[in-house]
Symmetry: C2
Subunit: 404 residues, 2 copies
């Protein structure tokens, strides 16, 4: 018995014609799959349209009401897809988040999944139905509708695949898989046939944007094989995201980056316990996401701390820190928007020591100065001047992925 | 403690601006009402838009899926209205059909209400919230979404008012109440201040179209006082629909009619038991609504039967009857599309014998021939040539309502 979960994103069901295409794809695939659950997002643009309607009244709509509003988008696309499948004589039934027993906590607009009741899904599968599930939504302990945040349908799909112990979860999207780099910048970027969960998380958070990062975390935790494929070219193999990835063959899986970075440097900070904590606590309280943090070695009890924030948060970040300047003996706060981050990602680098030096060499060879460096087990990131961003990505891709 | 239920139709919440207007109206009214429940329809045009999307795939979408699809419209308008109220600092919470425990049978797309759980509504009311309920929808015993048919939000509102034992149910709509005749035809038609349930049912089924007839039946059964008012001129008194109406003061409450009628006459039908039954059974099986039925007295064991059907069903009605012609000895089937029905309605006529003859006199005075007559306790209808329709309505209105 083969059980699979498919997920179709907003661009895949962005029009009635596309929904019919998706229905045809499902009908054909159903021949090889005994039990098929299909999770759908809202039609492209629908969630934003609903959000804009709420924002007509207030910038801060009640989150409980917002969730009821936004969840309509997936109810519409799931019922339409079930109707489209039935019109092709492929038996189908829609189920809402509530009907599959998708219980979440009550953190409206970004709820976390607690459990799924599989008995009702199995009941409908055993009657021979393709079960079409409205993604992105669940219910909390009060029976109120919750949503899982942007890209939440990916997480719905992986969670259902885990609960059903499905053979795999196929994420159908508008790209043919996970690229080695952004193909708009790096012309010879190619599709990876395999990638590990860890690599995927590093790539996703850095801007690859193929899968919601929470869904990858969940896939890793429950060891769900995920395949990313194109809805419009379903015969291409796509990228398999799994435990092992392709670590034996490639040191680096992908090259990525983020131009939306700004650097703040605090000069002359007192180098004593708790200082860094108090700074970053304030920023966290202000809901500012801090990315790279670099602290230089101390000189005469004073140190410099640099960190990056999203470029459009830089003024707010400065405002939050300014009141601390006297207390923490900060002599100067410098800000720079014209920076960008470039990264190489790969589980293979755990066992290969040359990657960092290769990366620095490539950048030096292009005359690019490195402002800051951070590393994790499977990722090396360098902060550079923004104007060199595309050049750096191409050079790094050529070095690490060029031999493919 | 004063408890009221308001209902706003699709034209009242047809845009974001109109939803804000409705929120302002509610906020003002809330000052005089301890417990206020507001039932909303989908935004104008939304239900048709969703239906058209389903029809893209098939003319006969599964009704279970259609109900999930269509119910989205009211979820959107109810959450938006709750957000709009909150933005005016009027505390509000939305509830879906499921959340108010609106249990129905499982006749999808035209479900009938079985029960409502009031405890959850009271919980939210007692916290000081305006409770905004998504109209038109409930759930069946399987937990699937059902809808109540076109105009179902009226029925939702009256059912909730009955369950809460509310002081009254105010139907806010785009007209200022129930007219004595169609004001597009009869220029001096006026708004009735009071009308009885029975009169309202006769008027509604004849084309007054202010309230879904099921909602009036339900209001009658549970003795709910209903007020029809204008959303855009809320200071006008509107029309009170209640048990007594205004029977002491007026013989006739309104003049109405239907141009969308066609007459079929069966000549030379054998006059024996079961013949009429077999004809109308066939038409009912074909889901054709038959309105006026007239059977002439028998002559030599043969009779003529005339009846009216909606004009656009006349060909289908003829096709259904033709196979019976030989079996029932029908000598000829005649059809006529150029007919119209005019009616006078009023509970007062129960005790006034002159209404029928007054009506026939008025029509005769205008040179209008009466083709057929049907009467009920509170209504007299005449079938006439269609070209005299407007003339007849004006003359009847002038006779019966003119003295006002």
């Amino acid at each position: 018995m083969r059980t699979e979960v498919f997920k179709f994103g907003g661009s895949s069901v962005g029009s009635l014609e596309k929904i019919r295409h998706v229905a045809e794809l499902i009908k054909e695939q159903k021949n090889n799959i005994d039990n098929l659950v299909v999770v759908v997002s809202a039609m492209q643009g629908k969630t934003d349209e609903l959000l804009d309607m709420a924002k007509f009244f207030t910038e801060t709509p009640q989150e409980r009401e917002l969730d009821l509003l936004l969840s309509s988008g997936e109810r519409i696309s799931s019922s339409l897809l079930a109707i489209a499948l039935d019109s092709l004589e492929c038996r189908a039934i829609s189920m809402t988040g509530r009907q599959i027993g998708m219980k979440t906590d009550n953190t409206h607009t970004r709820a976390r999944i607690k459990s799924i009741r599989t008995d009702k899904i199995w009941q409908n599968l055993k009657k021979g139905n393709v079960v079409v599930v409205a993604g992105f939504q669940g219910i909390d302990e009060y029976g109120d509708v919750t949503t899982l945040g942007r890209g939440g349908s990916d997480t719905s799909a992986v969670a259902i695949a885990a609960a059903l112990e499905a053979d795999r979860c196929v994420i159908y999207t508008d790209v043919a898989g996970v690229y080695t780099a952004d193909p708009r910048i790096v012309k010879n970027a190619s599709i990876l046939s395999e990638i590990s969960y860890d690599e995927m998380m590093e790539l996703a958070s850095l801007g690859a944007k193929v899968l919601q990062i929470r869904s990858v975390e969940m896939a890793k935790r429950f060891n769900v094989d995920v395949v990313v494929k194109s809805t419009f070219e379903p015969n291409l193999p796509g990228t398999v995201v799994s435990k092992e990835g392709d670590m034996e063959n490639k040191v680096v899986s992908g090259v990525t980056g983020d131009k939306n970075q700004a650097r703040i440097t605090l000069l002359g900070v007192a180098d004593k316990p708790g200082v860094a904590a108090s700074i970053f606590k304030k920023l966290a309280d202000g809901k500012i996401v801090v990315d790279m943090i670099v602290q230089n070695i101390s000189d005469k009890g004073l140190t410099d701390i640099s960190f990056t924030v999203p470029a459009d948060e830089i003024e707010r970040a400065k405002q939050i820190i300014s009141p601390l300047a006297e207390e923490l003996n900060i002599s100067e706060i410098k800000a720079d928007k014209d920076v960008a981050k470039v990264s190489v990602v790969g589980v293979g680098m755990r066992n290969h020591y040359g990657v960092a030096s290769d990366m620095f060499n490539v950048l030096a060879g292009e005359g690019i100065n490195i402002i800051a460096i951070t590393t994790s087990e499977i990722k090396i990131s360098c902060l550079i001047e923004e104007r060199y961003f595309e050049l750096a990505l191409r050079a790094l891709h050529n070095k690490f992925m060029g031999e493919k």
